[in-house]
């Protein structure tokens, strides 16, 4: 009787273990599927011309995505330049004023900001930048992406700086170093790897954002370096070409998705390497 009960319990446990392992394994399949498909379809459409040519009109063979690659770098670059300083300062502010009521308010705002769907951010960038400037532009796309980047970088900066022990700054004060220099020269460098990691992760995330670019960066079949003019971007191109009926364009879209994923993964891996290599532990 007792024995039976125990074996039943053990049996249940076994079943459960198998189930959990099986489900966890199944969940990996889509990733492998996506990676496999993109490598298979993407790699074949990539050659040198793919990187240096512009898209051709419908129906003509060949053509590349040089404009989209450059466009992605421009838009992400703008977002980076806008978001990084503000997020760093805010991150320092939050880690320095941990308990104040106001910083709690700021923290809630950041949580809200990070939860806003990216398409809504697109609407805002349209209302704030595109409409007053009377035109779609790389700048408006960059600003939209910056708003998405802000909460990610702020959070990682705050978390990193919080972990730095108080003794470190006390040592600095003891040497007569003023507050601002202590923060900039002692605390920031100590948290540097964590902050860089946060920035890189945010960059990887915004590089793949499409929704906010739909009505800001807009797309452009030509090469464009002017940030007040529309530019194309990799995710936009993937979206437009994937939903088209042309086989030729599907091929280009697979290639573009491949490059996009490579960029995102490389940045992610870089972030992890940096956080491992330069990590300061206490």
């Amino acid at each position: 009787m007792d024995n039976k009960n125990i074996s039943k319990r053990i049996f249940k446990d076994r079943i459960f273990t198998v189930c959990v392992t099986f489900l966890a394994f199944i969940a990996c399949l889509p990733l492998l599927g996506i990676l496999f498909l993109i490598i298979k379809n993407g790699a074949s459409s990539i050659n040198l011309g793919f990187f240096i040519h512009l898209p051709k009109p419908v129906g003509e063979e060949g053509g590349g995505i040089a404009n989209a690659i450059v466009g992605t770098f421009i838009v992400v670059g703008i977002a980076f330049l806008i978001a990084t300083p503000i997020s760093l300062l805010t991150g320092i502010f939050l880690s320095e004023n941990r308990k104040s009521r106001f910083s709690e308010m700021v923290r809630v705002s950041i949580d809200i900001l990070s939860g806003i769907p990216s398409i809504v951010i697109g609407i805002i960038a349209y209302l704030w930048v595109v409409k007053p400037m009377k035109g779609f532009s790389a700048l408006s796309g960059g600003i939209a992406l910056a708003m998405i980047m802000l909460p990610v970088v702020i959070k990682s900066a705050e978390e990193t700086l919080k972990l730095i022990p108080y003794s470190l700054r006390e040592a600095s004060f003891a040497l007569g170093v003023p507050y601002y220099r202590t923060v900039l020269k002692v605390i920031l460098p100590t948290g540097f790897s964590g902050i860089i990691t946060g920035v890189l992760i945010a960059v990887a995330r915004i590089a793949g954002e499409t929704a906010p670019l739909l009505f800001t960066a807009f797309g452009n079949p030509f090469m464009n370096f002017n940030i007040t003019k529309p530019v194309n971007a990799l995710p936009l191109l993937v979206f437009n070409y994937a939903t088209s009926p042309y086989e030729q364009w599907h091929k280009i879209a697979w290639g573009a998705a491949f490059i996009l994923i490579i960029i995102v993964f490389v940045v992610n891996i870089l972030a992890r390497m940096i956080s491992k290599k330069w990590k300061v532990t206490f």
Binding site: K56, P57, V58, G59, I78, L81, P85, V130, K131, K134, G135, F136, L184, K185, F218, G219, N220, P221, F222, N224, F225, N226, I227, T228, K229, P230, T243, S244, P245, Y246
Partner: protein
């Protein structure tokens, strides 16, 4: 900190390097709108760029979008297959003119296994798109397709999800042939669809039709041809089943044209005309000096319009659009000449 500052300064310098020459450099025109003529425009603008060195960035976002973006003055010109309604003209911040660029036909592309020829009558079209005829084997369809074996599968209606001039031409036609449609759905660039799936742009609709067996949708002729999707013959007012082609599209355009070129040519009276076709237009502001636009930009825009309605027309046939009839070109010339900068005409 100094390093950071240096970095920021040099970054700013790099940005301003990008911004500066742009103001001085050659003009770039931005347009957005109809997807219907997009293959033609992308070819024309590619050629124009090679010949005149002017970059024209046209984004196919749908006619509704073309009108909206011109209204918001975010583009230099809008492309549309639906002329502005009187209400839209009133809402425009300035008076806008329509320049016809070509004529296109809207065809019913379908994907029915085993069927390559399909006849449709106005009643059947209205029935299918109102969601009343649900199966390909319905007696109404079988009656007019006697020598084809219709499979017993469901009809999937595919329509546009975005504001579209193609939808406008289509709904303009269906409103003319079906009172029920006219009263319950109406004519417009976006509609309240009684049934079916939406896809973005002509390309999206064509793509979805290709994927879904049993589907039917309306697309511009070239999208059906270039994707090798079969399309239906439509019975016109004279009772003849017409296979859409360039010829019977231009026949349909054989009507009295008003001076502002806002004209619908659907459901033509011509005996051999295809009933569902329409002009596609580029819309621009009549007075080009707004928002401190430089004169060069206005001039380049007018030159482009002139080129499209004249030299550009030679690219139409190859891409299965009908070129403008002579009468339309003359009207277009007069409209282009009426475009002004500071009240003075830009070209004579």
């Amino acid at each position: 900190m100094k390093k950071l500052l240096k970095l920021a300064v040099s970054a700013l310098a790099v940005i301003s390097m990008f911004v500066q020459p742009l103001k001085a450099s050659s003009v770039e025109l931005i347009g957005a709108g109809a997807t219907f003529p997009y293959p033609l425009y992308s070819k024309m603008f590619d050629v124009y760029n090679k010949e005149h060195g002017i970059k024209i960035n046209y984004s196919a976002i749908g006619s509704g979008g073309g009108i909206r973006q011109l209204m918001a003055k975010t583009v230099d010109f809008g492309g549309t297959d639906a002329f502005l309604t009187d209400k839209e003209i009133r809402e425009m911040p300035g008076s806008a003119v329509h320049i016809p660029t070509c004529i296109g036909a809207v065809v019913f592309a379908f994907n029915v296994p085993g069927v390559s020829e399909l006849n449709l009558t106005p009643d059947v079209i209205a029935g299918i798109f109102l969601g009343k005829i649900k199966k390909w084997s319905a007696p109404e369809i079988r009656k007019i397709n006697q020598n084809v074996k219709m499979p017993d599968i469901n009809i999937v209606v595919i329509h546009r999800s975005d504001g579209s001039g193609t939808t406008f031409i289509f709904s303009d036609y269906v409103s003319k042939i079906s009172n029920e449609w006219k009263n319950s759905v109406g004519t417009g660039t976006s509609l309240k669809w009684p049934c079916g799936l939406g896809a973005k742009g002509n390309p999206g609709v064509a793509g979805l039709i290709k994927q879904i067996p049993g589907s039917i949708g309306y697309v511009e002729l070239i999208y059906a041809l270039s994707n090798k999707i079969p399309f239906a013959c439509v019975q016109n007012k004279s009772g003849i089943f017409i296979k859409p082609s360039l010829l019977n599209t231009s026949i349909a355009a054989n009507v009295e044209l008003p001076d502002d070129m806002r004209v619908s040519i659907t459901n033509t009276n011509e005996k051999n005309g295809y009933p569902i076709c329409g002009f596609t237009w580029i819309i621009v502001y009549k007075e080009q000096n707004y928002d401190n636009r430089p004169f060069e930009k206005a001039k380049e825009l007018v030159n482009l319009l002139w080129w499209i309605t004249h030299q550009g027309q030679r690219y139409t046939e190859a891409l299965h659009y009908a070129s403008l009839p002579k009468e339309a070109v003359v009207k277009a010339e007069r409209i282009i000449q009426s475009i002004t900068y500071n009240g003075k005409p830009i070209i004579k």
